[in-house]
Every structure is written in C-alpha cells, then in structure tokens.
C-alpha cells in the first residue's frame, strides 16, 4: 500500500557494523555509513532514527550472528567436546586472517565496544547486549567443556565455569594481539598454549 524500501535492513546493519568495527563509533561519520550501505541519509534516518540507534541495532545484529556461528560449532554433536573447542579457535583465527587480508587488522566489534567505556555510558542497551552475549557464550563454552569431560576428550582441570572464562579471556586476548600485527599462525599457537590447562 506504500512504496517499499529499496534496501535490506540487515544488509545496512552489516555494512554499518563493518564501518564501526574498523573505525570505531566516534570516527565513523553518518556520511561514511550512508556510503558504505549505499543508502541516502534520509533513508537511513528514516529507518533508524539516529546514529546511536543505528549503532545499537548494528551491535545487536552483529552479536547475534557471531554468536550463532559459534553456537553451531559448539553444539555440533558429531564432534567431541575437545574437537569443538579446537574448531572454535580455528574459526576465530580464521576471522582474523580474513580481516588481515582485508587490510584492517580489526577483530571484534564486541571487544571494541567493551573497551570503549564512553559507548556503554551512551545507551544502557549496549551494556545489556554485551552482557547477554557474554552470558550466552560462556554458557555454551561451559556446556562444551562438560560434554568433553563426559566423552573423555577433555581431561580434568579447572571447573567448567572457570574453563569457560579462560577460553573467553584467551579469545579476547587474541583479538587484542591481532591488532598488534601478530600473524594468524602464531596467534593460533598462542591460543593452544593458553588452553593447555583445558585441552592438555
């Protein structure tokens, strides 16, 4: 009954996330966002009321898709617990490899946002999104560690909850290290070194 949008909302969100990820919130202008998404300014403002709002939506979208990707690895019952964890690490290193190939050494929008306190202050939804994302990912990791202990692929070690935190910490550390130019294959070895208490 009315003119339909010519752009796909989630495509815009992904383009926006890519910009925010590479340049950060403050250093991404609305013009850049328009250009990246190939959408005119009024369309953007019409669909997403403000830059802040667009950021929140982009972050949410980004966190969901990323998490879904990790979830599909960690719940793949055709693999042992340990294999799933290793595969997760592989996938993360692969992300960094791709980012590297694309020029920007930029890792993860989640870590970026987390390390930018001003952003969280800007909208309480941001903290909520990050919190929820963290909780869900930790839960998945914990379940996988437990599954690995049950199927015998993961040796005894720290409690599963603590192990989940360890994996998450290592992943964050890897994201940071990637920014300093460490090559993906070295990142991979470091990740496995760090997980020795879990994976042996």
């Amino acid at each position: 009954m009315a003119r339909p949008r010519t752009f796909d909302e989630s495509v815009v969100l992904e383009a926006a996330a890519a910009q925010f990820r590479v340049h950060g919130f403050a250093d991404t202008s609305t013009e850049q966002l328009c250009e990246a998404a190939d959408v005119r300014r009024s369309s953007l403002y019409n669909a997403f009321t403000s830059k802040d709002e667009l950021f929140v939506r982009a972050l949410d979208h980004y966190a969901s898709t990323m998490r879904a990707r990790q979830e599909s690895i960690l719940t793949d019952t055709s693999l042992s617990g340990a294999e799933r964890l290793r595969k997760l690490i592989d996938a993360i290193i692969e992300e960094e490899r791709v980012a590297r190939a694309e020029g920007h050494a930029a890792g993860c929008m989640g870590v970026h946002t987390l390390m930018n306190p001003g952003l969280r202050a800007r909208d309480e939804r941001i903290a909520r999104i990050l919190d929820r994302d963290l909780r869900e990912r930790l839960g998945l990791l914990e379940d996988t560690i437990r599954a690995g202990r049950a199927d015998g692929s993961v040796p005894d070690g720290p409690p599963a909850g603590e192990g989940a935190l360890l994996i998450n910490t290592i992943i964050s550390g890897i994201r940071v290290a990637a920014q300093t130019g460490v090559t993906p294959d070295i990142l991979h070895r470091i990740a496995l070194d760090g997980l020795r208490s879990l994976l042996g």
Copy 2:
C-alpha cells in the same frame, strides 16, 4: 626571567590519562580535562597545543611509567624467574582491583587505545608508542622466561618468544575480562590457568 608554571606537567599528564582511560578519547571533553587537572583552558592549550597532542603525550607518559613499574618487577634478581612472572600477574590483578574500587572497571590505556582504530589513524606517533611499548615489554618477558629456565624455576615449554606473547595475550584478555565485571580473584585464577604451559 618569566612567570613559572604553577602546575606540574606530569601531574597534568597523569590526570589526563586517567580521564582518557575511563571515558575514552572522544568522550572526554577539554573541559573535563581542565577540571581533572585543575588547570585553566588556556594554560592547557599553552602547554600542550591541542587535545590530540595532549593525548599523545599522556599516552606516552602512561606507557613509560607503567612499563617502568613492570620492569622493576621483571628485573628483580632477588626473585626467581617464575616468581617474577607470578608477581607481575599479581600486580596487574591488583591494578584491576584498585580500578574496581574506584568505580570505573577500566583497565589499561594501552589496550583501550589499541582497540580504537580511529585513534591510531589520528596520529602516527600513537602507533609508534604502542609498538615500542609492546616490543619492550615482550623483550622483558622473554628475558624473564629465559632467566626462569636457567634458574630452574620455569619448566620447559614453548619457546621464550612465544611464551612472552602468551603472557601478553593473557594480560590483554584479563584487561578485557575485567571490563565485564569478573572479580579480581577469579581473574587471578584464570591468568594462572592460562599460564599453565609456562609455569606448570
């Protein structure tokens, strides 16, 4: 021969660093900086030509003092290599504990800056400061691991260079995890779990 400054430059740099660390570069106004340092705007601009410049100087100052602190731990020959590494971890956790007590969960200006690509783009000196800081810290860590292997306190494991990267990665990960509200004592356990391949 002329009126001397009433403020101490390094005190201003420390106050500025504290603000930048807690609020981030973009979300710290020059007014906040003046207030935090208790210096009037013109004095600030007179001493440090711009907000950007002040940031660079503050970062440099911050990195140097932080590094010196770590260096004094890592070169304390009254301790074994392993003891020095453990003490470094203790010191970092302690920093997070203090930050936590002060309200802001904020960790490290270095990691903040590293994870904010727009900042590095703003001034090439920033990348230089971070690079140099990283190189020096990795060197110290590597030396300490070697010393620990020589004195028998650090068991065989990954090559010293890789070990240094691991420690650094864990520290970064801890800085990030601290932002999510993990308590200092849990952070401590995670750090030691992650260093198992080095410290046993």
